[in-house]
């Protein structure tokens, strides 16, 4: 019975090819828009998420909000280094390693410096840190080795180059083992990092890392501006933030003097933004689907009027209310379902083209496709109900009188 009803529906859709196609167009465009827009949004959110995850594993970032300059003089001139409130010493930073749950601590003294190799010079970021910086920040080595604990302890004038800085200073040549100057002081290059690309628009490859013990004298400062910590596990992050918060409060006096951010916080913020974006885009596309549904309803109403006599004949022959109802419902479902399938095809094609044109990843999601298809069927059902019940409710005598 159902397969015959479907056959009848296909037949009457096929009998009016052009009209059926135009009717479906609304649904086709709606579904295609849902697929393409959500695909774009998902692609964007996936690439942002992978950038954030690339920053490090189970990363916690502490930043102090005080400019470090002023403290440097008093620190170097006084016998006992006494920092004004709001600043951290390297030893304080390193002591965070004893907090249970912390896997590694990488304190960073950051500044800018002029780097020179022969006649070439460039100004870029200088990072004074320790051996933990590489694992905590998830860097791979391209050549040589990273800073070792011994380099820190012995105040060795050794430098590790970010991949971009290595190219700027040494071109195609291998920098490892060569010497360079940092603000005029000679250093030996011991390693080059593998490129990591940019995160949130910032290059992560344009800097030089040296032991923090050496950076103190090069930058003329003793305070730590940023501490990167990695937690032992992602589950440990939540309890850790409370402990770290307490410790930093006693050291720095006020919560206004520092910020503590975890990777999962950044991720969840971004996720909520991209989820909102997906919902907004999906909603806009969904509206066009509903408009498509109204188009179907319109044509189905016309169709019921045109086929009043056919309905009368079918009823006279014994078709029940339900039989006529299901005939027209199946027809509008077939229209919207076909539209949905064509829309999925078109949307996927648009996603591919957009992905190539914009150079971004467009994530096709079977769930979205299925959802869009189900939604278009739902639209066909809802907007088919009224015309179908109108057809089914026709009185056979009245319907037969129409020519």
């Amino acid at each position: 019975m159902l397969s015959q009803t479907l056959k009848v529906a296909m037949k009457s859709i096929w009998a009016q090819k052009m009209r059926s196609l135009l009717t479906m167009l609304g649904v086709i465009i709606g579904v295609a828009a849902v697929i393409a827009l959500i695909g774009l949004a998902r692609g964007a959110s996936a690439s942002i998420s992978s950038q954030i995850q690339g920053l490090g594993s189970n990363l916690i970032v502490i930043k102090t909000n005080q400019a470090p300059g002023a403290a440097a003089l008093s620190a170097s001139s006084a016998a006992a280094p006494l920092l004004p409130p709001g600043q951290l010493t390297p030893n304080e930073a390193l002591s965070l390693g004893q907090v249970p749950g912390i896997a590694a601590v990488a304190p960073v003294m950051a500044g800018t410096a002029t780097f020179g190799v022969g006649a070439t010079s460039s100004a870029a970021g200088l990072v004074g840190t320790n051996a933990s910086y590489q694992p905590v920040m998830n860097y791979q080595l391209a050549a040589g080795r990273f800073l070792s604990p011994l380099d820190i302890a012995s105040d060795a004038n050794v430098a590790v180059l970010g991949s971009q800085e290595a190219t700027t200073l040494f071109g195609a040549a291998d920098p490892v083992g060569n010497s360079m100057t940092i603000d005029g002081v000679p250093f030996q290059v011991i390693g080059v990092l593998a490129p990591k690309g940019s995160a949130l628009g910032q290059s992560q490859d344009s800097f030089v890392a040296i032991p923090w013990s050496v950076a103190e004298s090069v930058l003329g400062q003793t305070s730590i501006s940023t501490i990167y910590l990695s937690a032992r596990s992602s589950a440990a992050i939540a309890p850790l933030t409370t402990r770290l918060d307490l410790k930093l409060l006693t050291w720095l006096g006020s919560a206004a003097n520092f910020s503590l951010t975890t990777q999962s916080q950044i991720l969840s913020t971004l996720n909520s933004i991209t989820t909102t974006m997906q919902m907004v885009l999906g909603g806009i596309a969904g509206i066009s689907l509903v408009v498509g549904g109204i188009g179907i309803m319109n044509i189905m109403l016309v169709s019921v009027t045109e086929r009043t006599r056919e309905i009368g004949i079918r009823k006279a022959i014994g078709a029940s209310y339900l039989a006529i109802m299901s005939q027209f419902l199946v027809e509008s479902l077939t229209l919207s379902g076909l539209g949905g399938i064509l829309g999925i095809g078109l949307g996927t094609a648009i996603s591919e083209v957009l992905g190539h044109a914009l150079g971004t990843v467009v994530a096709f999601s079977p769930t979205t496709a299925l959802l869009a298809f189900a939604f278009s069927l739902g639209v066909g059902l809802i907007f088919g109900l009224w015309p179908a019940s109108r057809a089914a409710g026709l009185h056979p005598v009245d319907a037969l009188r129409i020519d």
Partner: protein, 229 residues
């Protein structure tokens, strides 16, 4: 017990402020195996009578008992299965569906009875063979002559084996030769035991029937047996 029994059937329509009394108390009984022609001029109420006999409409007031069942108070939803089981229609304008071929048209009543697809095709083919169109199964109505289309309609009316065949001006759109052929088929069907009720103003049709009921201004004015010498 008669197959069809009408008791004091009336029917009126509201036309704006006026009420039009179309049937003014019609009582009749038709037995199984009968071949009845209902004749009358246009406007006499015979079309309305045919709608009521065919369970397309209900009398108000009045009583209609079909095959032992009182159908005069049934709602449309309950009338559809009655039509499906008891009535086969033949219309003046054939009323075939243009998008379906002859076999599919004939199979329609079986479709609504829930007969499976293969049985539908077999029985439709048998019914078409019975009216001499066994070689036209896959022709569309527009590929058939008027007489052939009406024979397809007859096949559709008998395919589900209903006790009553109800025909409304069946020869109205046919040339005289096709009309003759059709009456031959009707006589054959009646001889095979089927009950036929034909509404017509064609005297030739009435001559073939066993009984002629004459209707005028919503009342039965004549009811006579026809002798076939």
């Amino acid at each position: 017990m008669p197959l069809i029994e009408l008791q004091a059937v009336e029917k009126s329509y509201k036309m704006g402020t006026q009420t039009l009394h179309v049937l003014k108390g019609v009582s009749l009984a038709i037995n199984q195996g009968d071949y009845v022609a209902i004749v009358g001029p246009s406007g006499s109420g015979k079309s309305t009578l045919m709608h009521i006999l065919g369970c397309l409409d209900i009398p108000a007031p009045g009583r209609y008992v079909l095959a032992g069942q009182d159908v005069s108070k049934l709602k449309e939803a309950r009338l559809a299965p009655i039509r499906r089981q008891h009535i086969g229609f033949v219309f003046q304008s054939f009323n075939l569906l243009g998008t379906l071929n002859a076999q599919e048209n004939v199979a329609l009543p079986l479709l609504y009875q829930g007969v499976n697809g293969r049985r539908q095709r077999e029985r439709a083919k048998d019914a078409l063979s019975l009216v001499g169109l066994g070689d036209r199964l896959h022709h569309r109505p527009n590929q058939l002559s008027g007489g052939q289309q009406q024979r397809v309609a007859i096949a559709r009316a008998i395919v589900a084996d209903p006790p009553v065949i109800l025909a409304d001006e069946p020869t109205g759109n046919l040339d005289s030769q096709s009309g003759q052929d059709l009456l031959q088929i009707f006589s054959g069907l009646n001889q095979a035991g089927r009950t036929l009720v034909v509404i017509t103003h064609d005297a030739e049709v009435a001559r073939h029937a066993k009984r002629v009921i004459e209707i005028r201004d919503g009342r039965i004015v004549g009811d006579r047996e026809v002798s076939h010498a």
